[in-house]
Symmetry: C2
Subunit: 299 residues, 2 copies
């Protein structure tokens, strides 16, 4: 996998709308593998665009999404989800006929519902989700190896041109990813378990700890290695991105949260009653899933 490269000339002109961790990492891969590909970077904030120029991640920079997409054969939407609808309205009239539009958002059902109706015909919309990231954000945080050996999930709506799906598959495979295709709603249920609920829980517990008063809090920092530290890393993720994820994947997250709360209540009850057997049975079962993850080489 580490020998993967994006085929030079797969796209002639790529518009990156949003140049955070994911967008800037993709720019780095394109720079590395396909230097002849023109990259136009679009961001709202002047500092972001200045960083893009300093890092030489694009040939052109603009804060106007419509200008960015003009002439592009690939448009990659890599902003927080809440910006999609407005950007969709702005770029729709400017998209080149036959262009492929993809995105990197962590929720797919709501995105397709909001974005698809805005797009003109003869545009190929291939929603995608490269499942990769760190707790850092912004163009400086990106790196070309971010995608290496990670999964990318595409959720093309029924009727999407297979050639467009194939080109987006080639793009992410070139970046080192393993690409799969599934239904958008299924994607959202899987991600609610593997990513969205864990983030919500981590945000909650770290928030709970910050309210314990100053004395205890400084000790929590010192002794964080006992488990808490892993949660703080997750809970340092980008607040806007995650606010949007929870709002857009609301139903799947709330349904899962309900199950989680029931399970937590059961364990709480076992602790209160001194029911060691229930705890032991539960804790033994969870070890098995760790083993599956190690066997699947995801650990």
């Amino acid at each position: 996998m580490s020998a993967a490269t994006i085929k030079a000339g797969l796209f002639d002109r790529v518009a990156l709308i949003g140049v955070g961790l994911i967008g800037s990492s993709l720019a780095r891969v394109l720079r590395r593998d396909s230097p002849q590909t023109q990259i136009v970077a679009c961001a709202r904030r002047a500092e972001t665009l200045a960083a893009v120029r300093r890092l030489d991640l694009a040939d052109e920079t603009t804060d106007d999404p419509a200008a960015a997409v003009a002439g592009a054969d690939l448009v990659v939407l890599a902003t927080p989800l809440s910006a999609y609808a407005e950007i969709g309205r702005q770029i729709a009239p400017a998209l080149r006929e036959g262009a492929i539009l993809t995105d990197v958002g962590s929720v797919k059902g709501a995105v397709i519902r909001d974005l698809a109706p805005l797009l003109p015909p003869r545009i190929h919309f291939v929603p995608g989700h490269p499942v990769a990231g760190t707790e850092h954000s912004g163009p400086e945080a990106g790196f070309a190896d971010l995608f290496l050996d990670r999964w990318c999930i595409l959720t093309p709506p029924r009727g999407t041109a297979p050639e467009a799906v194939a080109k987006i598959t080639a793009l992410w495979e070139g970046a080192g990813m393993r690409v799969v295709t599934m239904e958008a709603e299924h994607h959202d249920r899987v991600m609610a378990v593997t990513s969205h609920l864990p983030h919500l829980i981590a945000y909650t517990i770290v928030g709970t700890a910050t309210e314990l008063g100053q004395d205890l809090q400084s000790e929590v920092v010192l002794y964080s290695a006992g488990g808490f530290r892993d949660f703080t890393r997750i809970a340092a993720s980008d607040p806007v991105m995650w606010r949007d994820i929870f709002l857009e994947n609301r139903e799947a997250v709330l349904e899962l949260l309900q199950r989680f709360s029931e399970d937590l209540t059961a364990l709480q009850r076992a602790i209160r009653r001194g029911d060691g057997e229930t705890l032991h049975t539960w804790f033994t079962r969870t070890r098995a899933i760790r083993r599956s993850i190690i066997e699947a080489k995801q650990a």
Copy 2:
């Protein structure tokens, strides 16, 4: 810190009651730094003792705690907490006068309450908690560097001989740890936040995921890199050890769990109502505590 060593001859004869991750790691440090120290390893299971002999972690092995402590100037209790009381009764008559008894348990208040009354006078009891570990258990999982640059918390009851505390401090500092002393009850409150609640939450969420049905479960394994994986690592920790921790630190854990549940309910409500501002404010606040941890060099 990495130049730390246990002073040769600090103890002549060490009895390790329990030779899991912590006990076997301490044995490795003693072997490395003080080869003239005699080590007696005591475990209930024959396979554990066979592993200890195979790994050359002790000079003598036995399944009889009373035999193990005979003549030892240091006794280290490193079993699950639920074994303490019975072992205390067994070793009390066999302890050498002036011997130091310490332990490595993750809960201190209940331990002192149960164990101290069983001990004869002229025994120095210095409860301790080396805050170090991995998700692996057993004598094969230990390694001498486990303690390096980690904290060790001692909770000597009022009136403990300062020389005994000094020797246990020297032991763990020699293993590379930073040693601090605090009240047992305070220790238990701090650990409830930094370690016990995070483990309970991780166990819960991984358990919730295992009940989602076979189809979804295999995908959860594949896409675990999005956050879930960190929880599975924590939830793979030793089930007996953790059952005992929750039962022994019941009050602090339940009190904290109550706060956590209230906070989770508040975030759940914000998601249901589409209240992005509450989510954003919460998620921004949690980033700050991550920065404190990085500044405190605990990340």
